[in-house]
Point group: C2
């Protein structure tokens, strides 16, 4: 789906910042942090607006958080099924400890038996290792 269409679908006003940010995510193929976005987009966009854009996108179900062992928070495109009322990003993530990039894998979180006295809402999972590109280098 295209940027303009996605914004409309999620009840977000179309603005220059939002369109550009969304384009970045649509073409990135990986998770992007605020800092990475800033350097990709150059000086044209306000730092605070960028934070607010990411937050609205997460809230509305366009992006979901991807975090790793370094503490960096990145965001990645959600599936078509996500919206304001529920995120369904129940897949495994991969984090390359060499280049630092993070990717969504098309792989469901495996089932397991968690203690019954805990009320579980969702499970987050990251595999850490070396990506294909970094293995060659």
């Amino acid at each position: 789906m295209e940027a303009t269409e996605l914004l409309k679908k999620h009840n977000l006003r179309k603005t220059a910042t939002r369109t550009e940010v969304l384009k970045e995510y649509l073409s990135a193929g990986k998770a992007l942090s605020h800092a990475e976005l800033e350097s990709k987009l150059g000086e044209h966009f306000d730092r605070v607006t960028l934070y607010r854009t990411l937050n609205s996108f997460e809230e509305k179900g366009l992006l979901h958080k991807v975090y790793d062992e370094t503490g960096t928070v990145r965001f990645s495109l959600c599936s078509d099924h996500c919206d304001v009322s529920s995120h369904e990003d129940d897949h495994v993530h991969f984090h390359c400890t060499k280049c630092g990039n993070s990717y969504c894998l098309d792989l469901p979180i495996p089932e397991m038996n968690l203690p019954k006295d805990l009320m579980i809402n969702d499970v987050y999972m990251v595999a850490n290792g070396i990506c294909k590109t970094c293995q060659r280098a």
Copy 2:
């Protein structure tokens, strides 16, 4: 094992800060962040020293990182098998989204088939939900 003993075992000099910090972890029963440590220990210890203590403890295999969806980085006691050369903290974690506490569970990470072109070193897993205490409240 006791604080003094643990420090010696991991080739760390015994200092007031390290002993006190380690005692906190030994009695906490949950993961503790830098901020949480600071407020537990009061004004007696330097902020920077605390950061450095946590980093050495992680490096030497006394503590391992526990992170959650909020981006907060906490640390938790390692098993006896961890040391400088390898961490073996391959268990599931639990994060309560109400009180914010994180716990190590005595539960191994389930197996799964990851893409063969990725070189996996370790897998991190957190279950998010509501803890026993917060369910009652």
